[in-house]
Symmetry: C2
Subunit: 349 residues, 2 copies
């Protein structure tokens, strides 16, 4: 990650100027423009020479002869890693307290996606936290109808699931009570891995004639834990990509928007982000670095937030490579800490 030794101070300045200018305008930038843009007073000819070097080194390229230069992926990477300054830009709309304190996680996340999109003009996504579904906190069976009972299952992290179980028999109140006792005393606080076949057999035995119900309940538990795809992903501003000509031709637009609708690819992205070691940092994927194929022409910036009890989620921004990285990263950081704060500091009301 050390700077290429062949990069003089001046080259860096020029590269930075090129990129910044390109971020603003989206147009290839020529030597003429740069003479005004940089503080170093150089003629266009000199700058041309430097640009030729930079092109040889692979940091910039020309879309065609006789056009100005555009940063390459490598150029962007260098920029993000080294050249970028921390912009102390503030987020508009609801200065501090971006997020209203709603107690529905879902709504907060939806809103987060929206705020993010509104603040950046890119497409955004927020994943619901992936809970560490490995401890069973509580189970409660209740009779709803003569032939239906509802099983409420609370997992670590206060994730509540329920499932209706059809039973042939009508359970008496006391039997239900007994079953609840049985289940809770045996299973509460237990990690999933600890629930073995032997344990199940023993449970069923103890349940006696109601072993069938116990079977159903355990099935429900198993199912709930296995449902992989229940990670929700909220998106917003997918149509923002139309604002960037380089992404808004039919082909690209269709692919990207499809990814946003189907969400599978976004889920992969989340998985990837969460797997990465550099958690609680911010990750920037430029062009081909992106784990999602359909976003080869984009840049993707993601951050991880934490909800306590090991529950983590991802917020992310997808936009053109000429993205305002500084602003985006700043905004992500803010939102990230807001989310962290909302849920960790004060589980208020």
């Amino acid at each position: 990650m050390a700077v290429d030794s062949s990069l003089s101070e001046r080259k860096l300045t020029i590269l930075k100027a090129i990129i910044q200018n390109y971020l603003e305008t989206g147009e290839p930038v020529g030597s003429r423009t740069l003479t005004k843009y940089t503080d170093l007073n150089l003629s266009s000819a000199t700058i041309r020479n430097e640009m030729a070097d930079l092109e040889d080194l692979g940091y910039i390229f020309q879309p065609h002869t006789s056009a100005g230069r555009i940063p390459s992926d490598k150029g962007y990477r260098l920029y993000v890693d080294m050249l970028m300054e921390d912009k102390e830009q503030e987020i508009t709309e609801r200065e501090n307290g971006l997020l209203e304190k709603t107690d529905k996680v879902e709504q907060v996340l939806r809103q987060a996606a929206k705020v993010l999109a509104a603040n950046t003009n890119y497409a955004t996504m927020v994943s619901s936290p992936v809970n560490n579904r490995n401890t069973l906190k509580f189970i409660q069976l209740s009779q709803v109808d003569t032939e239906q009972i509802v099983a409420v299952i609370v997992l670590g992290g206060n994730v509540i699931k329920n499932k209706i179980i059809e039973v042939g028999e009508t359970l008496s109140n006391e039997n239900l009570l007994k079953l609840n006792m049985l289940l809770n005393t045996t299973l509460n606080g237990m990690s999933i891995d600890q629930i073995t076949l032997g344990l199940i057999a023993r449970l069923k035995e103890q349940a006696g004639i109601h072993s069938e119900v116990v079977g159903h309940v355990l099935d429900a538990v198993a199912e709930i834990i296995h449902v992989e795809d229940d990670m929700e992903i909220y998106t917003s501003g997918a149509t923002n990509i139309f604002k960037y000509p380089e992404l808004s031709d039919k082909q690209s637009a269709q692919e990207i928007i499809s990814a946003f609708e189907e969400k599978q690819q976004l889920a992969d992205l989340v998985t990837e982000t969460l797997a990465s070691e550099d958690n609680h940092g911010i990750q920037v994927y430029i062009g081909d670095e992106t784990p999602v194929k359909t976003m080869r022409d984009c840049s993707v910036v993601t951050a991880t937030y934490e909800l306590g009890e090991g529950m983590k989620g991802t917020i992310g921004i997808i936009g053109p490579k000429r993205m305002d990285y500084e602003h985006v990263m700043k905004t992500l950081k803010t939102l990230q800490s807001e989310l962290d704060a909302i849920y960790n500091k004060e589980p208020k009301e």
Copy 2:
């Protein structure tokens, strides 16, 4: 809804031919083409005369002089109402049994949207059933943590909701039991409108020192009932609109896709459909007839399905006005009855 008396048999034939041809090609259709297309043997000149009449009557129009004719909204309307034949087209992909029998409603609906999109090449939406949230079937409070209890609330139609309630005090088991008894004996089977302020006061009184908890529970009930926006809408194939040039310019595409992402407008559409008297029929909105402003250039076809216990949902298709109405309506009908069947016949497993 009677046919305009000025429409001769021949004019109808020609109109139908124009529309069918336009549906296929998407190109304005000229008199020359029609000579081959219709069975009546007429010269192009004659047809031109008839076309001029049809244009005067408002059924077709020219995008510009010296172009062929295109059906107007009025023309499409006539076609859908009278001219269209029932195409006995079968749905591809999984002939009968379009939908796998999953017990998760959500998944079935998601899949329904996908199947629909795959079969039609239009954008599709499926709304989750709107339950008649007007009776309280069951309430269960359970202690989860020292300071948290979870309230499980079952509404008519077996809609289960839960909410975590933070309590300052730790409730003893028997108190919890008493509260449960109190709540259930008082509230079960009660319609929402019956829960008056007086009743609430009485309840709280009876709860004694735990009146606060009761208050929270009732708040939760109120909230759950009021959450309007909890109608889920699943979409698929939004990007299909790119297949139709008349909808895929940036402006339109952006609007339509936004509507699909934000979903609010789709929700309005659903509400509108459900409100309409002609339930269990199929509704066709052509162009301006659409209740959703952003879809003025589209046609929208919707159908209502029923899940028993008065729970209804909507499936819909959004596409260009030159939509294959016959196929779409056929497909919608099939899916509609599949959904009806799955949930009404056999609430299996």
